[in-house]
């Protein structure tokens, strides 16, 4: 269980010696509680307290890292059930599934299309994380060949799918030096799979139809010496998957129930239809999956899923920023007005929504204010005349309009003088203080 600042403070020396770099022990304790600093920064903490603090900081959901050729996919280390409570940390890895009954050319074609896929979303480059290779033939050589085919076109981490230890062993030999995920261990093969996992340093999926079964197997495997486990509660529909994933996360977080303190893998790929697969994947992103295996790769589906993953895994504690730039609202023309605001997303959305619902066309210039709201940014010197002028120039606003007139938020009316100096050929107008008054202002005054 995570300790609060005051609980940690009681374990610290309380001398305010400042050796940790913070002004008081309490300040340090709060940084520790927020996991923004390591306990080792305090040279004076007692061993006993150290032990208590270390135990409290052990993650309730174990971090599992798959690696291959410099690529890395992480899952686990989650501490909340709802993203607003803190944040979700490790975005679920997307894996495209291929089978060993496909021809090597088919495999390569599918894999290379997905491997090279990259889509830009608000300046971020989104892509899928790896591939799952499934042994359907039960033939070690075929499995090995399929993996070989994948490796010819992709270096990303792999999930190897077979319940047959012999087949799995063959596959693992292809990925020596990597840290793949094996799928998986069930009640009948767990020991053999466990041996392989230990031997190759691979993570191992535990498969069972019930939580009892999962907990049972996970416990056995852990005792057997396989620390890195992933759970497949074997639900393939939205409703059952939601229930089981929720139960697993609750047990791990609230009860600190170690046997289920591992990431979960989801198989939307098992859906009958493509649209069901995309909905199941969306669900898996929101509801606690650590790895998501897909069958059908299509940009029109991958793109929204990758975006959803970005959105759900956005840190709600951090103000999200929108990309600075000039935004078109209601199809503006060169005669439409230019409004300026900051790139704090709540600020941006409230301004954009008001203007949009007014039906009036406008250019909305979003200046880089480091993600702060208008007043905060102004107070901190991140939204001043110089910065606004820089944005006007950087985004070539002058080329888009006939009339060089810019409306600044009413809260920073004080900037108008400096704005005139910075943008000598522009007319500076002071708009309303609140976004909600924008439509009326635009109608009456622009």
């Amino acid at each position: 269980m995570a300790l609060s600042g005051i609980q940690i403070y009681k374990l610290l020396p309380q001398t305010n010696c400042k050796d940790c770099g913070f002004p008081t022990c309490l300040a340090f304790a709060m940084k520790l509680a927020a996991k923004q600093v390591e306990l080792s920064a305090c040279p004076h903490v007692k061993d006993e307290a150290k032990a208590q603090l270390a135990e409290a900081s052990e993650p309730p959901v174990r971090l599992i890292t798959l690696t291959a050729n410099g690529h890395e996919v992480k899952a686990g280390n989650e501490v909340v059930l709802f993203r607003h409570e803190k944040t979700f940390y490790n975005k679920p890895g997307f894996f495209l599934r291929v089978r060993d009954d496909q021809t090597a050319d088919d495999i390569k074609a599918a894999v290379s299309a997905a491997d090279s896929y990259m889509v830009n979303y608000v300046g971020r480059e989104l892509m899928i994380d790896g591939f799952a290779v499934e042994a359907v033939k039960g033939d070690p050589a075929a499995f090995s060949a399929a993996i070989e085919a994948v490796r010819q076109v992709s270096h990303r981490p792999l999930i190897l799918i077979s319940r047959d230890p012999n087949v799995m062993a063959a596959g693992l030999r292809n990925v020596d030096g990597e840290h793949p995920l094996m799928y998986g261990a069930d009640a009948s093969n767990w020991q053999a799979m466990g041996d392989l996992a230990k031997q190759h340093g691979a993570a191992l999926t535990v498969i069972a139809e019930s939580l009892d079964g999962l907990a049972d197997l996970a416990t056995k495997l852990k005792e057997y010496g396989v620390p890195d486990l992933v759970l497949d509660p074997a639900a393939r529909k939205l409703g059952t998957s939601l229930a089981l994933n929720t139960q697993i996360r609750r047990l791990a977080l609230r009860k600190n129930f170690r046997p289920l303190g591992y990431p979960v893998i989801a198989f939307p790929c098992d859906a009958e239809e493509a649209y069901e697969e995309s909905m199941l994947a969306a669900h898996a992103i929101a509801k606690y999956a650590g790895f998501v295996v897909l069958d059908r790769f299509a940009p029109e589906t991958a793109y929204p899923l990758l975006v959803l993953r970005e959105n759900i895994y956005t840190d709600p504690q951090k103000p999200i920023q929108v990309q600075p730039g000039i935004y078109e609202i209601n199809n503006p023309t060169p005669d439409s007005p230019v409004l300026v605001t900051t790139n704090f997303s709540i600020t941006y959305f409230s301004v954009a929504n008001e203007v949009e619902s007014s039906g009036l066309p406008a250019w909305l210039l979003v200046a880089d204010a480091e993600g702060m709201s208008v007043l905060t940014a102004w107070a901190a010197g991140k939204f001043d005349a110089e910065r606004i002028a820089k944005s006007v120039k950087a985004f070539n606003v002058a080329d888009k309009v006939n009339k060089k007139r810019i409306v600044i938020p009413g809260h920073v009316a004080v900037l108008s003088g400096e704005m005139e100096e910075e943008l000598p050929d522009w007319e500076i107008r002071v708009g309303p203080r609140e976004a909600v008054d924008l439509p009326a202002f635009m109608k009456q005054s622009l």
Partner: protein, 324 residues
């Protein structure tokens, strides 16, 4: 190893809101729609099955919209020229209820008149027996004028009238009070604002079981995470016993998704965006799925295929528990 299933028990219950009135109840609807009533977080069927499932509303307009994606206009075809035909068509593709979203102006650019709004509403009520929600154009003065007329002309039908906002709710609430309608209360993606507006509306004397809250959402890629978390938080608060959040939630993923460039535009977009039509439907559907899982009771959609898919998702989410 027997694992004890962790079940939450909450002291609060989401209120039920019933839309539409049958002839026995003073209206003309063939059936009513009731939403809310949950005692658990969304679809925690292993704790308790919810009495009502989320429903899908289809948004129609009183005249052919000029700013909708061609994908939508194509799929609705000529039905979009006439609210009655559109309503029928929407019912046919599986709408549980209808949203008539009034336009600010008529085809000639003149302000929509109360008479026109009433006529369109009556046409929709005549063509389809589904319960109806009527949204004003979203500007205070026009909303008040049009909704007041609509409310009076449809007394007893138990419509939901929208959109009440913190700066403009009194007239709409008064119209709902006087004519036995419900209201939708929209606030911009903030738990506190949502609650505040509910309190203000309730303080005017409108019972809580006649208020739907619309916490607003962004579309996928455009702030959905705010709407998503605000809805989760509102539902948690409701279950924890906070009376002023115990209202069913309506959200408009259709409106939000179809105004994004991803849905609206088919040409000159990155290749990585893929096929336009499927991408657009995905945009609407995935936005809606996420919101249904975070607690939406009514999702307002625009594309018939999305309606089909979301029905399927709701079916799967509401199946009775295999593992109680």
């Amino acid at each position: 190893m027997p694992v004890e299933i962790p079940k939450d028990s909450w002291e609060g219950t989401v209120r039920t809101v019933t839309l539409g009135a049958t002839s026995a109840e003073g209206g003309t609807r063939s059936r009513t729609i009731t939403v809310g009533g949950q005692k658990t977080l969304p679809f925690m069927n292993f704790e308790q099955t919810a009495p009502n499932r989320p429903v899908v509303a289809v948004e129609i307009k009183e005249r052919r919209p000029t700013d909708w994606s061609p994908l939508l206009l194509d799929v609705w075809g000529d039905a979009a020229n006439d609210p009655a035909a559109w309503a029928k068509q929407a019912e046919a593709v599986g709408a549980d209820l209808l949203v008539l979203a009034l336009t600010l102006t008529d085809a000639d650019g003149a302000p929509t008149t109360p008479q026109a709004a009433v006529a369109a509403t009556k046409a929709v009520l005549g063509a389809s027996a589904l319960p109806l929600i009527v949204f004003g154009p979203g500007q205070a003065e026009a909303d008040n004028e049009l909704l007041l007329a609509v409310a009076e002309a449809t007394k007893g039908e138990r419509l939901a009238l929208g959109i009440c906002e913190d700066k403009n709710y009194r007239t709409i609430v008064a119209a709902a009070l006087a004519n036995d309608h419900c209201v939708t209360a929209r606030t911009p993606m903030d738990v506190n604002l949502a609650k505040q507006l509910n309190i203000l509306i309730h303080d005017m004397g409108l019972p809580l079981d006649r208020i739907l809250m619309d916490p607003t959402t962004g579309a996928l890629g455009y702030g959905i995470e705010y709407g998503y978390s605000v809805m989760e938080r509102l539902r948690l608060a409701a279950l924890q016993g906070d009376a002023m959040t115990q209202l069913p939630m309506l959200v408009t993923p259709g409106f939000e998704a179809w105004k994004t460039k991803e849905s609206k535009v088919g040409q000159d977009v990155p290749e990585a965006w893929g096929d336009w039509a499927e991408r657009a439907i995905n945009w609407e559907t995935l936005t809606a799925v996420a919101l249904v899982e975070s607690g939406a009771d009514i999702v307002v959609l625009r594309h018939p295929e999305s309606v089909r898919r979301i029905h399927k998702a709701i079916d799967e989410l509401t199946i009775s528990p295999e593992m109680a």
